[in-house]
Subunit: 332 residues, 2 copies
């Protein structure tokens, strides 16, 4: 048999770990140059991309099954904030030689479980060796009825500002991940510390709320770089101001305990990022039916302020407007 | 003004260098979490992803305007081979701190020129700092009438095997890029050496031929990991064999001179990769009209062999079947 009939190690790796995730017919079992997606009639396709790099977005010794889930969920969170239903994703993997099959098996297994539970199958990918750190980039696709994507730029004066879940957990979880002694300083129970660490490791994107966001929100975005900075972006895009009552921002018991022990942590909570919640605005008369829709899918939503004419997002705490030393996470 | 009204360095960088490339209305000027694409009615969307890492796929001192073009063209080549018309792309950039604004300006400028000339605008992206090498990953999208994507798996016994352009130039160009003395050993003129180097730096994807491929080909794929390995993949996917007349494989004058000077280079030519040509099969009765369509868009096409029952791609040269020490480029 000619040597050219042999499969390469790269093909075997893809077949073993990634083909099982490629359940959509248009993925062709990852055996072609490209995948196809047939969008539902009358729908737009929503496209987003987000990635992680070892040592930048995750700790190199984080559990690999969590890393795969996290990067997919970061992208799913963008789709949720836009009101889109997931369709599938592409993945680009750069792996150092030290990554072994056990790491890859665990990575693919976590990724596959999430792909299934979020209804977002693997459509294709690209796998390379790198002399640098492990890095994973995902491009995710969703669908929604034509021209109904919820934008950042459409908030109106008078809108209520709503946020899902709780804010600041993941940012505190990263600090705790770096220095376990902080748990004692913040007087956290083991359960509380575990909650913060878990919120850093594994976002809970709000895809179950996507349809309610699409049907109710005037504007919406994913909270990934910190509530303060992300809301400021929404205000800039919309040409409006926001006034936020910091005391009303929903915190977990753990985050509340940490801030009580160390009040300056309120800045970390509001600017630290990695929340993967949704911040949205809506006309106050829609608040009731939005709350009912959120309750129906079991996702907590909290009104935290108002949109007004003007510019800038003001975070008011104890009668004073907070100023932040570093308003949002930025790589540059 | 509250600090939260300031834009971050990351936002300014995106606004300056990448927003001008985001000419599609659905890209929203890169100012939202996601982009939208409204596929033409009755069309499938074709998705592909491919990337490059400094020191792996390109030399760190390659001209940045060429790197941006190359990574986009690698993806465009996949769309061409599938018969799809480009719609747009997402980009994920990981940049070391040493990358300066001049590099980025040149990178974006080359990328932007190609995005315009291939009708494939930027739809969105993700930009991170990395402690590792520069890496660029692109996910590109195309459209074609429903269920007409040309697969790898549909070659039939009796088909002619066709290849576009010339094979092996880029693989020889990489060797020359590493060791300029080879030019003399291979007895290349400066023009010939320049041709090989250029073919490595800047692929010429065959998007002008996409419609002809879609209308004529039984099966098709992009030649990116070497003709021998890629054709073997096509044969495996289709459950057929191929017999290729190596003397009929189209070589540039430069490649022909190199192989004449050093006959063992025929393996590099056939297995080295980075060609970004198309290998396709078609029923012999379609050859005439395919040739005419290719001539109409100025793309050379050459018949190099036949598909037969069986398995494996045999490359016959001087009456003997070649065996390759490394049949295709593989990262693992």
């Amino acid at each position: 048999m000619a040597a050219t009939d042999e499969t390469s190690a790269e093909e075997r790796l893809i077949a073993r770990y990634f083909r099982p995730l490629a359940t959509a017919p248009g993925a062709f079992g990852l055996s072609d140059d490209a995948a196809i997606v047939t969008p539902p009639p009358g729908c737009d396709l929503v496209l987003t991309t987000d990635g992680v790099i070892a040592g930048v977005h995750f700790f190199p010794d984080d559990p690999p099954e969590k890393i795969g889930r996290k990067v997919l969920r970061m992208n799913l969170s963008d789709l949720a904030a836009k009101g889109a239903k997931p369709i599938g994703f592409l993945i680009a993997l750069a792996l150092p030689a030290a990554i072994d099959e056990a790491w890859l098996a665990a990575f693919a297994s976590g990724l596959g479980e999430d792909a299934e539970s979020y209804g977002c199958p693997l459509l294709g990918g690209d796998t390379d060796r790198t002399p640098g750190p492990t890095s994973v980039s995902v491009a995710a696709f969703g669908a929604l009825p034509h021209a109904t994507m919820v934008r950042r730029s459409t908030a109106k004066a008078g809108d209520s500002v709503i946020v899902t879940g709780t804010i600041g957990d993941a940012a505190l979880g990263v600090l705790l991940r770096r220095d376990q002694n902080l748990g004692e300083r913040w007087r956290l129970s083991d359960v509380m510390a575990g909650h913060l660490l878990q919120r850093y490791l594994l976002p809970q994107p709000r895809n179950a709320l996507a349809e309610a966001v699409r049907c109710h929100a005037a504007s919406s975005m994913d909270v990934s770089d910190g509530l303060a900075g992300d809301l400021a972006k929404l205000c800039r895009a919309s040409g409006v101001a926001a006034e936020i009552d910091v005391a009303g921002v929903p915190l977990s018991d753990a985050a509340r305990a940490a801030v009580a022990a160390e009040p300056a942590l309120i800045e970390t909570v509001l600017t630290g990022g990695d929340d993967y919640e949704i911040v949205l605005t809506l006309a106050p008369e829609k608040l009731g039916s939005f709350r009912a829709a959120a309750q129906a899918v079991g996702i907590p939503v909290t009104e935290i302020g108002r949109i007004a004419a003007g510019q800038g997002a003001r975070f008011v705490y104890g009668g004073k407007t907070l100023t932040f030393s570093r308003p949002a996470y930025s790589h540059f």
